[in-house]
Symmetry: C2
Subunit: 553 residues, 2 copies
């Protein structure tokens, strides 16, 4: 690296909507610390994730590759062994790559066994943690049911709570993510009617402050001479929608922003869209009483994230690290929260597929853009490319499909910047797949979006969905069946086709490797297409001159 | 396996055209032994390779996956470490997987090092040999020039020749692939003017008999109780176009089949096609004197292959192995030989992209189809799937993209058989790429073919090429610019798009794995979308009942 003192604080929140920050225009949710980073750097207003579901989205953030390339299409899909990760790229450049929090990574144990790799070795551990050195791995979803824990791993956070005297097998649920009734009963945060209760835990022991403290520990332990990337990955504001006091009642129904939905959306809806509006979470968010308690709790969780971000920024400032630490703030996807008659994040409307992306680059080269916004089409995979270039490397574009954002941070725009963004979703493991009678391999959704249009394509013979982002920025009017928009749809399909045909697996040869192959074989004796040899320099033939050696017999 | 005595002899010839066998209609080249296998089994008349270039085509044969999936797009591209191969699939089923001859495999040494794999270990060796246990690896192209050998590996064949008294550093070239002038000078087989000379070697020491002897050695050494697949992979009739006596003068100009080309092909030609017609080998094959000596030599090489196949068949018969050994005969691609004004195999006309495929299945279930032909659309990747099913396995269709041909061998046709075949070619390492000023990543050619139409698409903004196979079986009339065929072209692009979007990298989860995920998370406590819990069985909530444990403080 050119500068051994450059670090990267790569902060991810889980399920944070792009528009739930005051710097992004939220009217009632004041987030001075997110806004402070936006003032220090550039806020990207059109950043799309490669998939609006945690696991797939994160594997794209961490590999710099589309889901179609890395294959971990949904939660719980192991990332195939050998897939290049941020850690592979950064360590080559002398930068450590560390994890503090959630990744949703699942190791490809079969693949590792097939290749004879031991899980305990350094290489094996990194393969199992998506290339990160794990300072703390805690995915923050320790749900438990009749069939056991959703996640069988050890939970450092649960261990922390137990050490603090919170009792029982699963204090993550019983305290951090539940309230308590007057009768002393657990009121599970999984039941949305409890969303307006305070979580039954001391605020400083809840997940967001806990992970912030671990992050401060980590940074304090690092040598000033060893550059590092720290992926600080918070579980919040992801459900369960419940937050400790005083955040549980900071917001009320008057603070809820206007619902973005229209009756027309349910007239002759696309079958896949209709399926998501009518699943359990979709129907729940049709209910006023659900939104009235869930959205204020969601806002409270974000407010707590903002306060903890302030704590982290102050620590960096007090320890004089702001001058050499890049800060990146983003999320793995959004949350419908009732918009478009949906809950969760199963489709590609902006509230789901668009995320916050704020980048502070301490370099003087970035001074000219501080406090500005960039509305170019950006993808989550661009983060990996940005980190590689920031660490002093050249992006290996036969492997990493994202592009560095440093030019934008330095006030330049590449001439050949992308014209459209792609996102994918695989609903093969959902109840909707069964309801529609689809084979898993056909449960594929694709988004193609530019600044004017967004098309959503579903495999299986369905018509597309199309939104006119210029004239219908709320994405309420699906033009997918409109003959008048046939040309736009054709153009979007041409783009999707070109993207899908792209070279994504030729990871063992770079563009330069291939240029260097040109003409090489002839100088190694492969004299293709010669009749009498006069076609080439005698030098290429000399090896074939001279007396014939005699076979001895 | 159901029958421990089933073996597979998977024989590949290099650069053998589909129509240079008498059973395939060649008028003057009599190939009784190829024809004998056709009589014993089924000859597939529409088998397309996944790429008309050795390395890429073979990686698809050996992985059962498209080039777009495995990424080894051209010769010399390492197959990424961890890619599943035939060996991985067959050994699980108790069948060995052995190599005798050429694969064109290059190991992903960087990838192996990154994963801490030792090249010397059994796993490392198999990773380096595309999953095969190497009985003999000899790629049969030991060309040498000012920059050294084209292939730096040791050549068992060269070592054999030296042991037989053929002198010099490279008897492969100086004897097996060159003639000798009256003055005792080497007449290199790379110079096509020498194609009518006899190779300066005893016929029994030339490559095809040598590899046949090694194959007989291998089979003789195998236990009758250990099922095996042997990939017998001949370099011939691949250039250098020169063959030992008596094969060098078995055929003359009168035996050459009519040239398949038309002046119209050069009127306003597609720029990529034009580039291949005007490169060195293309221009050489425009010349009558080249074709007049090269084609008879090519036929002689095939005749020698046929005689050696007879020797192998007789050995199997004499040792009573025909009853339990599947025999598969195919090639990695064809050879233009002047057709369409081209040499080599750089595009997708049938003489290049279509190959012979003859399969003899000893099972009684195949008795009804012996001696028949099958004209369904078959792809090279189907071979791997066929071998897996023949070995008693179920094709893992989240990894292997080909489909088993056993149904056709047993007289059935699956209802959902493919409607189109795909082939790919990457010319990024060729001089044409430089001439057209193309970046390597854009040097991508795709073929989409059904029984009626063949479209060739080139990335980079070119129009497609289109051939009407029904009315123009010789593929001489390019309709790619015809407005009247816009609908056909659109249909072909839709197919190409659907294919390109396919799920090809989700290799860590099967279709069944994903079906089994449906609804599972709720039973592990992820109670998504509940308001008051009445939405689900009490059983799912029971874990959340009871007194609240007190935090000790």
């Amino acid at each position: 690296m050119t500068d051994a003192k450059k670090n990267i604080l790569f902060i991810m929140y889980d399920q944070l909507r792009f528009d739930y920050l005051s710097c992004a225009g939220h009217k009632t949710l004041h987030t001075p610390n997110f806004d402070r980073v936006a003032q220090m750097g550039v806020r990207f207003t059109r950043c799309y994730v490669q998939s609006p579901v945690c696991g797939a989205s994160r594997m794209s953030f961490y590999t710099g590759r589309y889901c179609h390339s890395h294959g971990a299409q949904w939660n719980g899909h192991p990332l195939r062994v050998g897939e290049h990760t941020l850690g592979d790229h950064l360590r080559k450049l002398g930068m450590g790559c560390h994890l503090i929090g959630k990744t949703h990574m699942r190791a490809d144990k079969d693949g590792m066994e097939r290749l004879g790799m031991s899980e305990g070795s350094e290489i094996g551990l990194r393969q199992s943690e998506c290339g990160f050195d794990s300072y703390i791995r805690d995915d923050g979803l320790w749900a438990q049911g009749p069939d056991g824990f959703y996640d069988e791993r050890r939970s450092p956070y649960n261990e922390y709570l137990k050490s603090k005297g919170y009792e029982g097998q699963n204090p993550w649920h019983h305290f951090a993510n539940s309230g308590a009734t007057d009768a002393g009963e657990i009121a599970s945060g999984f039941l949305m009617q409890n969303a307006d209760m305070p979580a039954n835990i001391r605020e400083e022991d809840s997940e967001t402050p806990w992970l912030t403290s671990r992050t401060i520990d980590f940074i304090s332990e690092q040598s000033r001479d060893e550059p590092w990337l720290a992926h600080v990955s918070y579980i919040k504001p992801h459900w369960p929608y419940i937050v400790p006091a005083p955040y549980h009642n900071k917001y009320g129904v008057d603070d809820i922003q206007p619902l973005n939905r229209a009756d027309g959306e349910l007239n002759d809806p696309h079958p896949v869209y209709e399926g998501f509006t009518s699943n359990g979470i979709g129907k729940a968010f049709h209910r006023q009483e659900v939104r009235d308690v869930v959205i204020p709790a969601y806002m409270g969780l974000i407010k707590q994230c903002d306060d903890q971000l302030g704590r982290l920024l102050n620590f960096l400032e007090d320890t004089d690290r702001l001058k050499d630490t890049m800060i990146v703030i983003t999320s793995d996807h959004g949350d419908y929260l009732g918009d478009h008659w949906m809950g969760e994040k199963d489709l590609f409307h902006d509230c789901s597929a668009k995320v916050p992306l704020i980048i502070y680059d301490p370099s003087p080269a970035a001074d000219s853009t501080r406090g500005t916004t960039c509305d170019e089409l950006v993808e989550a995979i661009d983060c990996s490319a940005t980190f590689i270039e920031y660490a002093g490397g050249t992006v290996p574009d036969h492997i990493v499909e994202g592009r560095s954002l440093l030019p934008f941070l330095h006030g330049e725009k590449p001439d050949d910047w992308r014209e459209f963004a792609i996102s994918e979703y695989d609903y093969g493991a959902t109840a909707l797949a069964a309801k529609l009678g689809m084979e898993p391999r056909d449960c594929r959704l694709f988004m193609v979006a530019d600044k004017d249009w967004k098309m959503m394509h579903a495999e299986g013979g369905f018509r597309p969905m199309l939104f006119d982002l210029k004239n219908d920025p709320k994405e309420q009017n699906d033009l997918g069946a409109s003959d008048a928009h046939r040309d736009v749809i054709d153009m979007m399909y041409q783009r999707l086709g070109k993207w899908a045909r792209r070279m994504s697996q030729r990871v063992t040869k770079s563009e330069d490797d291939i240029r260097n192959m040109r003409g090489r074989s002839m100088r190694r004796g492969v004299l293709l297409g010669l009749y009498d040899g006069t076609e080439v320099d005698a030098e290429l033939l000399v090896k074939y001159q001279g007396k014939v050696p005699r076979a001895s017999d």
